[in-house]
């Protein structure tokens, strides 16, 4: 049915906290009263980016923009504007006298394509003040969960939202909660909730930033989870390297305890729950669920075989529900705004089956050879191209894009042919990488893919706990082969051997660290096999990185004698007078690349 007018009420977090949902109800009732219900439709929209003046409302097709609308304004607004067609001047936005001469934040590509759900309060609230969080609607989801919903309702809402674990595996959170609750009831043992803040991927800092900018969103999510699962005990396992995040979280817990939001009889509802912070010593493997729980218990952080899951026998053999920081931070909004709202973002259909798609948003740390490095949050299903070229602003220095590494050491490198692939759990896995916790490292044409694989395998070799043979030996020997290839001693059969070892590891390692460890090798073999062959057969490194395979020289045509490279060279390998052609002594050169960095004319050759 067609409406003559649409009223768009902003449903961004800012406007919701200043009452836009209530406005919708009042508005609809008033339309009914004045007999306009069939002519005017009220729609809640996404954020309009002008949160400072909320609640915001736009009447279309008139294009009239109202701000700061209160409930009492509505009867008059409906009569005057919608019935009589006279826009209400006093509610219309008046731009400041002096027109702001700078671009709007939401028109800047870095911000325009982001959609902030988990990071809704970034930059807006003081993370060390619980009152700030409460002012923007914090802990209202907890009230709703405790007073209007049964534990089953909460679990069903999370299930239908399609929320999948943001720590890497992508396991549906609702199913995990349900399994944990049932296991606890069946065994009559108290369950435990744990927040995994042991973010260890190189180049990843999403969870740290979430805790640093909005610790209470994680705490609130955990309390809601605890009430749904039936826990009275919770832990945050945070790595030792995150002092600021830990401090803010400690403060948040203390304030929540002071307000009675943690402890006994929370908000007078009878719920007892508290959270303890446990510091990890920074072992990468402790991000893995069973190793994390061993570490929580004070044992050596080593994984165990998982024919019995931790949701049944986890921390001290209690049923244990482990979710990561970002997953927990999503929970309050899903409870407040509903599963339908959450699953309207993202890909696939999760209404019946949480595995059916990837709903919601994902936070990424965008780093490497990209102009705008930073912390971004985007709807699931956005393309890699949009992330790297629109939000990231492309590759610095006009260089060419070569690959993007997603999912950290366990992820893989994706080439430019996959730039238009949607970013969601299943697409990334299919392409041989993974969502992981959300690190995204962009690489340009000066990157050597063999060297990248070598870097990650070296990292994993050091971090492998050594408990199972495929991981311990597979990594060690993969690294040895990659070192040989990089040193110019690769053998033609090495490529097949790397492939075979990788596949064995995928099939036989004890934990996810091991089964995903060959991904950096397998994905570079899949998409950049030519680079391996160039190293092995032609003794050439196309990225110009592997020192044994490159030589430096100065292009006598391009050099203008600016002399910038001479002081930059620490071994005095470059000589020449100002405004004369310079030369490079290969016997002195240590191939450090300092001259390339300073040469403005690209006269230093590296082949």
């Amino acid at each position: 049915m067609a409406y003559r007018t649409h009223v768009l009420i902003c449903g961004g977090t800012g406007c919701v906290s200043s009452g836009s949902f209530e406005l919708r109800g009042v508005f609809t009732a008033e339309l009914q009263k004045q007999g306009l219900a069939k002519e005017v439709q009220v729609i809640i929209t996404g954020c309009q980016g002008f949160c400072a003046e909320g609640p915001i409302m736009i009447v279309q097709p008139d294009g009239v923009f109202y701000c700061g609308v209160q409930k009492k304004d509505i009867p008059n607004l409906v009569t005057e504007h919608l019935l009589k067609g006279r826009p209400v001047k006093k509610l219309m936005y008046t731009p400041p006298v002096e027109k702001v001469p700078i671009p709007a934040l939401k028109d800047i590509p870095f911000f325009a394509k982001q959609r902030l759900v988990v990071l809704r309060n970034r930059g807006l609230i003081d993370p060390e003040r619980i009152d700030d969080y409460i002012a923007v609607g914090g802990y209202t989801a907890l009230v709703k969960a405790l007073t209007e919903m049964t534990p089953e309702d909460i679990i069903s809402e999370i299930k239908r939202s399609g929320l999948r674990g943001r720590g890497g595996g992508g396991f549906p959170a609702g199913i995990k909660w349900e399994t944990c609750r049932r296991a606890a009831q069946k065994r009559g043992v108290a369950p435990v909730v744990v927040c995994n803040a042991d973010e260890g991927d190189p180049g990843a800092f999403m969870d740290r930033s979430i805790i640093e900018c909005d610790p209470h969103s994680v705490v609130e999510g955990m309390i809601i989870g605890a009430s749904a699962i039936g826990c009275s005990e919770g832990f945050v396992y945070i790595r030792h390297e995150y002092p600021i995040a830990r401090e803010r979280l400690l403060k948040a817990l203390e304030q929540a305890r002071d307000y009675g939001l943690l402890g006994n009889d929370i908000l007078g509802t009878g719920l007892n729950f508290d959270i303890e912070i446990v510091q990890g010593a920074g072992a990468f493997v402790c991000g893995e669920s069973t190793a994390l729980m061993a570490s929580l218990e004070g044992k050596i952080g080593e994984p165990r075989a998982k024919y019995i899951h931790t949701v049944e026998y986890g921390y001290k053999n209690q049923p244990t529900n482990l979710n990561n920081v970002e997953t927990w931070a999503n929970v309050p909004l899903i409870v407040n705004r509903g599963a339908g709202w959450f699953s309207s973002m993202g890909t696939g259909d999760v209404a019946e089956n949480p595995w059916g798609g990837s709903s919601g948003t994902k936070v990424f740390s965008l780093v490497g050879k990209v102009n705008n490095t930073g912390l971004i949050e985007v709807p699931m299903g956005i393309s890699l191209r949009e992330i790297i070229f629109d939000i990231g602003g492309g590759i610095p220095g006009g260089r060419e894009f070569k690959a993007v590494q997603t999912g950290g050491p366990s992820g893989g490198c994706l080439p430019s042919s996959l730039l238009d692939m949607p970013v969601d759990f299943d697409s990334l896995t299919e392409a041989g990488s993974m969502m992981g916790s959300g690190g995204m490292i962009v690489m340009d044409d000066h990157t050597c893919m063999v060297d990248v694989a070598r870097y990650f395998i070296n990292f994993l070799t050091e971090e492998s706990c050594g408990k199972c043979i495929p991981c311990r030996e597979g990594l060690r020997h993969s690294l040895r082969i990659l070192n040989n290839i990089s040193d110019g001693n690769g053998r033609p059969e090495d490529v097949d051997l790397l492939q075979e070892m990788g596949e064995v590891m995928q099939d036989s390692c004890l934990c996810a660290l091991g089964t995903s460890a060959p991904n950096p090798v397998l994905s570079t073999l899949r998409y950049f096999k030519g680079e391996y062959e160039a190293h092995i057969k032609d003794h050439r490194c196309p990225g110009g990185v592997c020192k044994a395979l490159v030589e430096y020289s100065i292009d006598q045509q391009l050099c203008d004698g600016c002399h910038a490279c001479v002081p930059a060279c620490s071994t005095q390998a470059i000589t020449g007078k100002v405004k004369e052609k310079h030369t490079l002594d290969k016997t002195k050169c240590i191939k450090c690349g300092a001259c390339i960095e300073v040469c403005k004319r690209e006269a230093v050759l590296r082949v």
């Binding site: 002008f50 934040l105 009152d131 409460i134 002012a135 009230v143 600021i244």
Partner: protein
């Protein structure tokens, strides 16, 4: 602190809004320095110190100062957001203590946006 009831939560929300936002408070302007790990390592603490010094030496009483987490664009830290009542917030990037001083004097006190250091005006898209 006695335990909160659900009604208390609503009351705190209203009270805190008054001090956080300029809409209902008595302050004329608010300056937020973004202090995530990225901001602090780029010098946000020094920027904050410079801001507080400006306020102290100027005897300014109607400007709120706040801290917050990472603003997202880590490569342009330290960042600060200046909000004058009735105007969209303006984000400043690549700040130093000296630049913060200039921003405070020209924009917060003088009312003119310092274009050289400003990135953009407005809020981000949420929800």
């Amino acid at each position: 602190m006695p335990k909160l009831t659900i009604e208390d939560l609503k009351r705190i929300s209203e009270q805190a809004k008054a001090t956080m936002t300029l809409r209902s408070g008595t302050a004329r302007a608010k300056v937020t320095v973004h202090m995530g790990t990225c901001g602090i390592s780029a010098g946000a603490r020094e920027v904050m110190a410079a801001l507080l010094k400006e306020i102290e030496t100027g005897g300014v009483t109607d400007v709120l100062v706040g801290t917050s987490g990472c603003a997202g664009l880590c490569s342009r830290e330290p960042m600060a957001t200046v909000e004058i009542r009735g105007q969209p917030p303006v984000k400043y990037v690549d700040l130093s203590p000296e630049k913060m001083g200039q921003v405070f004097r020209k924009h917060v006190m003088g009312g003119t946006i310092l274009m050289e250091y400003a990135l953009a005006a407005g809020s981000e898209t949420t929800g």
